[in-house]
Symmetry: C2
Subunit: 343 residues, 2 copies
């Protein structure tokens, strides 16, 4: 595992979470809120008279709900100064003798007792971005009773073949950026006597990474999905280990179900499960495939996927996709490999 500079990491990672503006963004995400709300209140028996640990309480919302659902005690741990606001909020909502807000990282704090329930909203883009699940695992191993429960309890990552015009749009953006660069090279020669052309290739590479090889957060229409989705990773939050998520590798066969379509991207999303309820995705990540492929019903696409943490920042992900078209006729196309960045 690469060495993580804790200071650098914390300074960057926790920065945005210290703003009410950002906490509010999350509190306005109805899909997320409804999933946790019903998870807590429909399973109130799991919370009644129990001891709960909220990992990364932020504004304190999940801790307050846990108290309202009948918890005897809730430890609400938050790294940033948002902890102060969570404390105020608990007070204003009359649960101050149940919710104890502790400012610190869950890796470093101490609790006076083990807990029955761990609740946390740790999911980043495509589930694992931010690597916050590491902190939940750490909390679980230190503080969860042997018969304790996790909220959420399970998580899955999905991939599906899709059609989309996003790739063409991004290609155009790239062309515009390169035209602009061309003009810049010309003007710098004329006005300032320096030939910048030698950097054109590097400029293009920088922009290709930005436009074509960065995943795009998007709301897909169901009819963009042109074949079957596949689970590429399944996790039991009670037993998952950091080793298991540090590197995700999968190989899946995606059958195409639409005739004369263009496979222009893969979509990636996650869902998480609570006891009895589920958080479905509201948005998907789009991973462009350049070149795209003409596909037909009956074809299938063999996808090898890998995702590892970026060397510069362990909270970001470097992915690699290898895709290979098998036509229904038996004809097989050469495999194409492309890198993709989740930043």
């Amino acid at each position: 595992a690469p060495v993580v500079d804790k200071e650098v990491d914390f300074a960057n990672y926790f920065c945005t979470y210290a703003y009410l503006y950002h906490q509010k963004e999350m509190l306005c995400d109805r899909v997320r809120m409804d999933a946790y709300h019903s998870a807590v209140f429909r399973n109130a028996h799991h919370f009644r008279d129990k001891v709960v640990l909220d990992v990364g309480t932020g504004s304190g919302i999940l801790a307050i709900w846990s108290a309202q659902a009948g918890a005897r005690k809730v430890y609400a741990v938050e790294a940033t100064n948002m902890a102060e606001h969570a404390r105020e909020l608990a007070r204003a909502n009359g649960v101050t003798d149940i919710v104890e807000v502790i400012q610190g990282t869950v890796e470093d704090i101490e609790l006076p007792e083990k807990v029955d329930v761990i609740i946390s909203e740790w999911m980043g883009y495509f589930l694992l971005r931010e690597s916050m699940f590491d902190s939940v695992i750490c909390a679980r191993d230190r503080w969860l009773k042997p018969d304790g429960v996790m909220y959420p309890s399970h998580a899955r990552m999905w991939l599906a073949p899709i059609r989309t015009g996003l790739g063409d749009k991004k290609m155009e953006d790239l062309d515009v950026a390169m035209d602009d660069w061309g003009q810049f090279v010309e003007e710098t020669q004329v006005y300032y006597g320096v030939n910048m052309n030698v950097l054109s290739k590097a400029y293009r590479a920088e922009h290709e990474k930005f436009y074509l090889k960065s995943s795009i957060w998007n709301n897909l229409h169901p009819n963009q999905v042109i074949g079957q989705a596949a689970v590429i990773k399944e996790m039991d939050c009670l037993t998952a280990t950091v080793d298991e998520i540090r590197e995700i590798r999968a190989q899946v066969m995606l059958p195409i179900s639409l005739d004369g379509a263009r496979l222009a991207a893969l979509a990636g999303w996650f869902d998480v499960h609570f006891r009895g309820s589920k958080q479905n995705p509201a948005n998907e990540e789009v991973f462009l495939l350049t070149p795209s492929l003409k596909v037909s019903k009956g074809d299938s696409v063999n996808v090898s996927f890998s995702m590892v943490r970026s060397k510069e920042n362990h909270r970001l992900m470097d992915m690699e996709f290898t895709y290979e078209l098998h036509e229904f006729s038996g004809k097989q196309h050469p495999a194409i490999t492309t890198k993709m960045y989740l930043e």
Copy 2:
């Protein structure tokens, strides 16, 4: 002086400079480019057969110009991987035996000899944001010959009283943000049973800081200036010390020259001087004054100004303005103090 965590600082500060995209932005800034270009070529006698140090060479542009102007040797120091591109650029422009690119921070690198000229483009917003001049001072003290010269050689910071509708616009934005928050509080109570109202004050404070107390980068029209500008800081780059810029304090009297105007902000800008040429400002920082003041010709505004480095990030600045209207009639208004952030 506050302790600076070098790792955190470097990770954040140098991040953007590692992109060609950002270097190009600077290379497309005509005001900046023209000022340095004429500074070098109109003073070619300062460069001919001389040894030059370019502090923070970025793409290498100033180093290449120095070589083209006749320098015997140019040490071009750059902290980021941009150094590699600077090296390519020097090669492509035929100055590879003169320009030696050294990747590292200027504080840490070693040179084989002292230099005759230090050239650097170290100026941030309102001159001192980024605190990069610290690095230039360090380079000067370590490597400049006793009779060496600095490019630029002098720098000044200015303040002027202005009228602007920006404050009203920002007030409206703040109102919209607070209306939105009000609706959020209501909905969170109704749908999720939690009363968020206790955080309203903190939310407002967070947004006031963002909308009203952050300096605004703006291109002013000359007729917005309603009185006389004043120099609040003057620096000789040959003798300036870090102690002298760590904290800037000034008190100036700004005479108003327009009747029936509203003093809604102060504008701040800088200029720098080279031997014989000058870089005039292309843009100004706007520091809103809330409340604004009705002023008339003959009045004057007494402004006390302080600027210190922010505790969390020494490259950002915390400012404080105290403004006090003296009417021509002799009537004196109470002093008003406001904080302002340069981020």
